[in-house]
């Protein structure tokens, strides 16, 4: 199964503008309007995007949508810090994964 998916970036304008220079598809969203962000992510998922980068500021408002795509092989929704800095959601998600799989957090002890 070989597809030719695209890469999308969803985030506030300041954060995503720079990605445009690399030919990624950029979709500006605002953190205050979660409904619109959700629609964007859903739309991208339907349109065979392979990776969707979402800034943490946006992701914070649409956690349910993002969790929903965790189970699918594609798209991979990856959280990136926005221009105002990292909120630590991405790292928290890794930690949650570990706890879910192993039963305890083993990352911090190393």
């Amino acid at each position: 199964m070989i597809t030719m998916p695209k890469i999308g970036v969803v985030g506030d304008k300041d954060s995503v503008l720079a990605f445009k220079a690399f030919g990624l598809s950029v979709f500006p969203a605002v953190a205050s309007d979660s409904e619109a962000s959700r629609k964007i992510v859903d739309k991208l998922a339907r349109e065979d995007y392979g990776i969707i980068f979402v800034t943490e500021q946006i992701a914070e408002t649409i956690t349910e949508t993002i969790d929903r795509y965790d189970r699918c092989v594609l798209p991979a929704i990856i959280l990136i810090p926005g221009s105002t800095g990292s909120l630590g959601i991405g790292l928290a998600r890794i930690r949650r994964n570990v706890e879910k799989a192993v039963g305890m957090n083993i990352l911090d002890s190393f």
């Binding site: 070989i2 220079a21 030919g23 392979g50 965790d70 990136i80 890794i94 994964n97 879910k100 799989a101």
Partner: protein
Amino acid sequence: MELTKLKTRLKTAARGHKLLKDKQDELMRRFIELVRKNNELRKNVEEELINAYKDFLLAASPQSSEFLEEALMFPTKKTYLEVTTQNVMSVLVPKMTFSHESSGAGIFPYGFTNTEGGVDRALTTLCDILPKLLELGEVEKTCNLMTEEIEKTRRRVNALEYMTIPQLKETIKYIKMKLDENERSNLVRLLKVKTMIQR
């Protein structure tokens, strides 16, 4: 009759349990390896990305946003993504390969006259981060999918270990006891009959 059936079921269950347990162990090993990588990669990428943002915003601030948008409007670089699925221990994970294509002019899609030098710097760093970012995407997705699978496998292993197998054993024991009991009573009856005849 029922006893033989149950015995075969127990054997299958034990075998299944062993296999699943092996699968779980292997999955866990890979997962831990991967998740460590994921953790490190993410920390790394976040840090660098934030730095790049800082550069970019700082450089972009003297210019109007429309202007900058215009400068970045037509990218010279294209990033292609190719996804194949790979089967790791019955988990379907995406395997992603990336290719860049730039049309000669380097990574800067604009002329140098109108933009700040800082923008160039920011874009260069971002360009360096990009492969890492994409790798992070692959690793993180794989981790996510593996988590689900591990949880599922663990549940199955536990169900077999603590429910199915003990229950089967219990039933087998019960039937065996019943059969033994039958046999004993039969024996006693025979003895009784014998003494009755002899008398």
